[in-house]
Symmetry: C2
Subunit: 738 residues, 2 copies
């Protein structure tokens, strides 16, 4: 699936407003009330994003619960029927066929109709928030396929969660609502036209992603921090509040509608799709001596191992499993294997536990256990993963054999690792938590038996879950808050943070986080937070793209068409110059395309050919899918016309200076000697340019010499730093003008 | 106190690294290991900041608890002795004198020794984080006075809290630790020299402020968000994690040492100075219909009223109470009045409640109540404010009469309002919470009686507290998280957020937040988050300072001394030009001072006068207190020497372009006509420049024309925008080159 994500058509987003004359005129015309209305619209949109995201989460949850109940009840009855009379292979086949069919539906939807809906969508949203546009990632169709796909894969019993995809869903909702139109439905509501540009749309998408996290984990603050940690560069107070608002509304909506569906209207105790349950007060506190134990658990590199295996698996998939039908077959194979392995594990397990009324299992399988007992292995495998996590956190000490937990950890680890990256919509959060909870509980049991201290296994399950998840996704701040909010208890803040930090530090020693690995495998050029530490010796001169393609302020139409059609210099922004190559502005490919489409030409005689003056609205209507240059027909006569770019170019692009020469003539010879000894060619260093790009969200930066002549437009092509610097292949994106 | 905060000597901080040759050489020399060591030092420093901040909080807490216990026990015994025999006026006098003396000590310390230690310090830290340096705000002496002052004022029974000052204390600790030296102690440990510049120091100070919040409220995430909401502009992932780490360590240290002092080592249930206590599970949930009620409570404008009254009081103080002895006298007066009013309220109250063992009051005053009963008014007044807040949150319904609560609200409101701004170290968080909790509880009682629905008064007390605090300080995201963490329960997230948002929106209609009011009254030029909405018609031309003072790259020492001594153009940065006025760099006042001090002169004969080459270390040693120009003696001979600024200037300052003319000659006449119709002089608009300043934390921005000639250096003087735009007096700071 990931093979086709880096396909042509992806590009970067432009978070720098093009302040051309049209824009400035509009802004200057607008009254204070106008701006206030815009602000109110923003809040309204964020509220709407929250409500819709919450509703989607609610829909997924209810459908999954209902259908999964039918499925498990049916299989349970079947197993019970055949346990005594023999012939459990029929039950196995029933189970496998049920899983098989659901996964097939989900996989066909994804592989054939919208490959970008595969996986959790978090890498894609992370890219989007960081300015890389992956085609079709925020379309309505993607959302529909995603929702159906995730329902199918969770019901299909794969080792997946429905939480990750919520983040993608929230982002799609946000992108749709904020633009007031849908390409899939071909419907334009003619509202929110002001927000039809990359800057504004990105803000709403971050709110949507946060709302998704919030609905998934009942973690509104965690959602905000997720958006910030993954996406933000410039922190804006008002924006953060709106994101927080969307998150709050989202979790509240989910909570409210779930309470209705549970016939318990107004009971707001289900804030998220996953609920870790309330940790009992006697388990709450941890002792000081436990902290090193927690840190040691964080250092267990199972997360890194997971990433390592998945990395090679993904490379294998990119090479050999790139045809949709192969992808569907692989998904079905995984579904069948998952069912068979689960069944085998349950079948051969002899971990029988008494069935008490207090912690009633939802689908207790008696199998070969005595009456009044149930098979403990079945509580982990024969249930939705969310429920299994809760059981591992909260079941009484002694509910699980160490052997059961060990076997479960190993099998589920490999199943989850195999599953992530399949052509199905599915998240990796819950499987990670489940694996971690299993080995964490195992650690707790061991500790209790070894040191003969009482260690609550549920607590260690939580820590293990955090360690595993942290080792896989390598988030710290937002993940700490998400987990704390999901447990509903702030007491575990410090241990969870320490575990996540350890997991990150230890894991980063081996490999990047799972999402970063997938982003890299998709060949997405992704700009990191800071320039590499030792990059001060690099200057703009060394990373800028040259030679630069410039346009004159009054340019021949033919030249523009040729420049745009030239695939070797497939730039997206062009500096506009006046003779002799003095920079006077920057114009984007998309703007030129709109100008060509509307034929804003001037004949040499000076008369305009267009009937009306082009307005900002024309650019907004074309946003975000500008036609390719090939689809625009320009006749031979028109090629001879001129285009006046003055109104449309951004007359104040950000620039950096490159001092080219030091030809001083006014100083005495003595001093001149001094200068020549000291004065090297000074250029802007890479970290400085990097900061400018990152902080302002730039896509283009013009390098000028000291006479304001455009030397080069630094449309950086991906630059791989020397390995000797111990900087792993770093790809500079946004500089990449693709 | 605030009158002398805007005194000369304050200035802005420079968050843009001066990338001169010395700096680049150092960076380029540094190996990857060097950078890794730096990174580890940063983490170490953050850990140390956390530990020290936690210890300070612990010290304050233990001292206050112990001494307050003696005080209240003594007064209680005294009152009990005199209740029956009459002569309670002696108790009143004892109470008043005790308060009086403590407050006198605290006030003398603050007013005479370190006026900047007055108040909570939050406005000052907010200024610091936003780039405005207020003199002596992060010195060790300030910390000592602050800690002693806050202990005195809390024990002195003023309507203050010890939480706000923790933020200031954390910031001072951070500034001290990260620099590896102290000016107050005249001690230089010769470590962490790399961090001796504004950028790095600011990062650590934000960690310190977060650690302070974290220790004060047991809210590590809230601390991080506080730092971000109040100070950050550019979000940096690694920095945020370090801040989070410091916060976690801080709350953990406090928790651990408090558990030792409570003889309960390892019981980590006291994460902060204030502990809201555990909300009982039956009170936890709220109903849907309560949400509008909560929002309505948020709209009660008592917070705005508080700000309004305090605003006028502060203006009065600036005018008439600016002499230290007057300030001390005012503080003592307030202490006496507080004691008298409290006593009177308790004396005349007839709200007697049965003394049950479950919710044992710490200092129950029987007074005129029957045996086995206690005076309910005394639980609010006769206690530390933290304890009173807890009582209001958690005491059984019916513990307080509505009349008691009403009277308490009114008196405490005015007392707190009068107290904030006195020359004592004290915070406004706890008084606000207390006022809010009182009227919130009152609302709860009324609702229960009016609608005959059961409304838990403790819940309404919490909401009221949030509304009042939000109405006063106008924070939303961070305050929500702080309150949620302090209650230890995420269920109230949504209502608290809605209340704070309402309080902010309603309150902002009347007035700014308390901290912003005080920042404004201190005449600190403070740059807001975004340029005013309707400022697109303003260009750099209109806000830049002119004429510009430039220096030549090789400049006469005399000229430099004259420029620096000129008080009318008291700039802090100067563009460096080569003839004819071509920009080649930017040099700071502080750098010039160091150069002059070390006499880095060149005689016209070309020989250097200094023995050694100046290094970055010389600049770091002088940081942050560069001597004034007046203290540097330059002889008449030396004035004739030259200074070569090449090595020391920043050769790549950020610039914006101002297009000055459109003298095109290469186009046909027809087109020229066209241009003249369309092409206006294009300049960078204010919002664009604003974004550059805010995102990059700039202090200077050079405006150049299209030939790279320095037109003006926009060292903006404070600019008051037209009222017609409905933009309230906005002062552009950082642009202010003071």
């Amino acid at each position: 699936c990931f093979s086709n994500c880096g396909s042509p058509g992806s590009g970067s987003l432009d978070y720098d407003n093009s302040e051309n004359q049209l824009f400035l005129e509009e802004e200057r015309r607008m009254s204070f009330t106008g701006f206030r209305c815009l602000e109110i619209s923003r809040w309204l949109i964020c509220g709407l994003i929250g409500v819709l995201t919450g509703l989607i989460a609610c829909f997924i949850d209810i459908v999954v619960e209902k259908v999964a109940r039918y499925k498990y009840e049916a299989i349970k009855q079947n197993i019970e029927r055949f346990t005594e009379v023999g012939g459990l292979s029929i039950s196995l086949i029933l189970w496998a066929v049920l899983n098989f069919s659901f996964v097939m539906v989900g996989s066909i939807l994804v592989a054939f109709f919208e490959p970008v809906a595969a996986g959790s969508g978090i890498p894609q949203i992370k890219c989007y928030l960081n300015g890389v546009k992956i085609p079709r990632v925020v379309r309505l169709k993607t959302l529909v396929i995603k929702v159906c796909g995730v329902i199918c894969s969770v019901i299909g019993g794969l080792a997946v969660g429905k939480e990750g995809p919520m983040i993608h869903s929230g982002a799609v909702v946000a992108a749709g609502v904020s633009q007031g139109r849908s390409t899939t439905l071909k419907k334009d509501l003619m509202i929110f036209e002001y927000f039809r540009r990359d800057t504004e749309k990105r803000d709403f998408v971050s709110a949507g992603a946060a709302a998704g996290v919030s609905a998934a984990f009942g973690a509104p603050v965690g959602g905000v921090l997720f958006s910030l940690e993954e996406g933000a560069s410039f922190w804006n107070q008002m924006l953060t509040w709106r994101i927080f608002f969307a998150s709050m509304i989202s979790t509240f909506t989910l909570n409210f509608f779930l309470s209705i569906s549970h016939n318990n209207t107004g009971d707001l105790s289900n804030p998220g799709l996953i609920n870790f349950g309330r940790f009992e007060s006697e388990n709450l506190n941890y002792n000081l001596y436990e902290i090193p134990l927690f840190i040691a658990m964080g250092a267990i590199v199972l997360g890194a191992l997971f990433n390592f295996l998945n990395y090679w698996l993904t490379i294998f998939r990119i090479r050999y499993v790139h045809r949709p039908c192969l992808q569907v077959m692989e998904a079905m194979l995984v579904a069948a294997v998952t069912a068979s392995v689960s069944f085998t594990m349950i079948y051969f397990s002899n971990d029988c536990q008494p069935l008490d009324s207090e912690h009633a299992e939802e689908y207790p399988l008696q199998l070969f256990c005595a009456d009044g007992e149930y098979n403990s292995m079945a509580t982990t495998f024969f249930n939705t993963p969310e429920k299994s996590v809760r059981s591992l956190f909260h079941n009484q000490p002694g509910t699980y054999n160490p052997l059961t937990l060990g076997l479960f950890t190993i099998t589920y680890f490999f199943l989850a690792c195999w599953t992530y990256g399949l052509a199905v919509s599915a998240g990796v959060f819950i499987p990670s938590l489940l694996i971690g909870a299993a080995w964490g509980r195992l650690c707790g049991i061991w500790l209790a038996s070894l040191a003969s201290i009482w260690a609550d296994p549920g607590k260690y399950a939580l820590i293990g879950a955090a360690a595993q998840l942290g080792g896989i996704v390598r988030m710290t701040l937002s993940l700490t808050v998400i987990l704390v909010e999901a447990t509903g208890n702030v007491t575990y803040g410090l241990p969870i943070m320490l575990v996540l930090l350890t997991a990150k530090i230890v894991g980063d020693y081996f490999q990047e986080g799972l999402y970063d690995i997938h982003i890299k495998l998709q060949s997405v050029p992704f700009l990191h937070w800071e320039a590499p530490a030792t990059s001060h010796w690099l200057t703009t001169r060394e990373v800028m793209s040259s030679p630069v393609t410039c346009l004159n302020r009054i340019e021949k139409v033919g030249t523009i068409v040729d420049v745009l059609s030239n695939t070797s210099t497939n730039h997206n922004g062009f500096p506009v110059v006046v003779q002799p190559s003095k920079l006077c502005g920057l114009i984007l490919r998309s703007q030129l395309i709109v100008l060509l489409k509307h034929k804003v030409f001037v004949e040499l005689a000076g008369s305009r050919l267009t009937r009306r003056k082009l307005q900002l609205k024309d650019f907004r209507d074309a946003y975000p899918r500008f036609p390719p240059i090939q689809s625009i027909h320009v006749s031979q006569d028109e090629r001879e016309c001129l285009m006046d770019l003055t109104e449309f170019m951004n007359p104040t692009p950000y620039t950096v200076t490159q001092v080219t020469d030091s030809t001083e003539t006014t100083l005495t010879d003595v001093i001149r000697t001094l200068i020549q000894n000291n004065f090297h060619l000074q250029e802007t260093s890479l970290p400085r340019v990097f900061k400018l790009f990152r902080a302002l969200g730039l896509r283009h930066l013009v390098v000028i010499d000291d006479a304001n002549r455009v030397r080069v437009l630094n449309l950086y092509k991906s630059k791989v730093f020397s390995r000797k610097l111990k900087i792993v292949t770093m790809i500079l994106f946004r500089w990449l003008d693709w």
